[in-house]
């Protein structure tokens, strides 16, 4: 067990701000996989998700001083991840990102407990739909904020998210 394991996220952040790089390594170990999953959820491309993971963590290091500890570190991290990934996808065409990437897909198919190919399920959703879900559940954006970003009304945003949830639920149950 590393000497950093008993520390809370905020204690690790204090250590990082005093120049302790090993504390950053511990923070990375705690959240790297969670961040990778979230990057992949948006871009659906394994190699891109790995690149985004690196960029997100460099951004975390550079902007850690802006984290005020008024919320959980994970919330701040996932919002940063959401914003970074969505900004990235804006610069890429859908075609560029839709190239099949077998690495993560194979991993999912090996999971017999999944019962459904989640990759296929996510591919059925548009990039915008995945971005909206990511904003809501990863970035913890309010309906109002999503409405402004997507340039649609608040009630239309609520309706769209609700429909997406129903769709996901149905596909997972089927």
């Amino acid at each position: 067990m590393s000497s950093y394991e008993p520390l809370t996220d905020n204690e690790l952040i204090d250590a990082i701000q005093q120049g302790d790089i090993s504390a950053f390594e511990e923070l990375y170990d705690r959240y790297a996989n969670k961040v990778l999953k979230r990057c992949y959820f948006i871009c659906l491309h394994a190699e891109t998700a790995r690149d985004l993971l690196q960029e997100v963590w460099i951004k975390v290091f550079l902007h850690l001083h802006t984290f005020r500890k008024q919320s959980a570190f994970s919330s701040w991290l996932y919002r940063l991840t959401t914003n970074h990934c969505i900004n990235y996808t804006k610069t890429k065409t859908h075609l560029e990102l839709s190239t099949e990437d077998t690495v993560f897909q194979e991993a999912s198919k090996e999971d017999s407990t999944a019962g459904v190919d989640v990759h296929l399920l996510l591919q059925k959703l548009s990039l915008e739909d995945r971005a909206i879900l990511a904003m809501k559940f990863m970035g913890e954006y309010t309906y109002e904020e999503i409405a402004v970003i997507c340039k649609i009304g608040v009630s239309a945003t609520k309706m769209r998210i609700s429909r997406l949830i129903v769709k996901l639920r149905e596909e997972i149950r089927s």
Binding site: E25, A32, L36, K37, Q54, A107, A114, E140, I172
Partner: protein, 60 residues
């Protein structure tokens, strides 16, 4: 945010069964962080040098 919806979203993420990031990725990130830390320290050191030390107006 509804707990049930959040749980569903987490379930979707978990079902993706994404493998742990490879050690090479971590190594790249840690190297970058190390260089950024050094650059920050060098920058802070340079900023701490009084500007008069760079003033060469009396040299001529």
């Amino acid at each position: 945010m509804n707990d049930d919806e959040e749980e569903l979203f987490e379930h979707v993420l978990d079902s993706l069964n994404i493998p742990e990031p490879d050690p090479a990725t971590k190594s790249k990130i840690m190297k970058a962080v190390y260089f950024l830390t050094v650059a920050k320290e060098v920058g802070a050191f340079q900023a701490s040098i009084p500007i008069t030390l760079f003033d060469d107006s009396d040299c001529e």
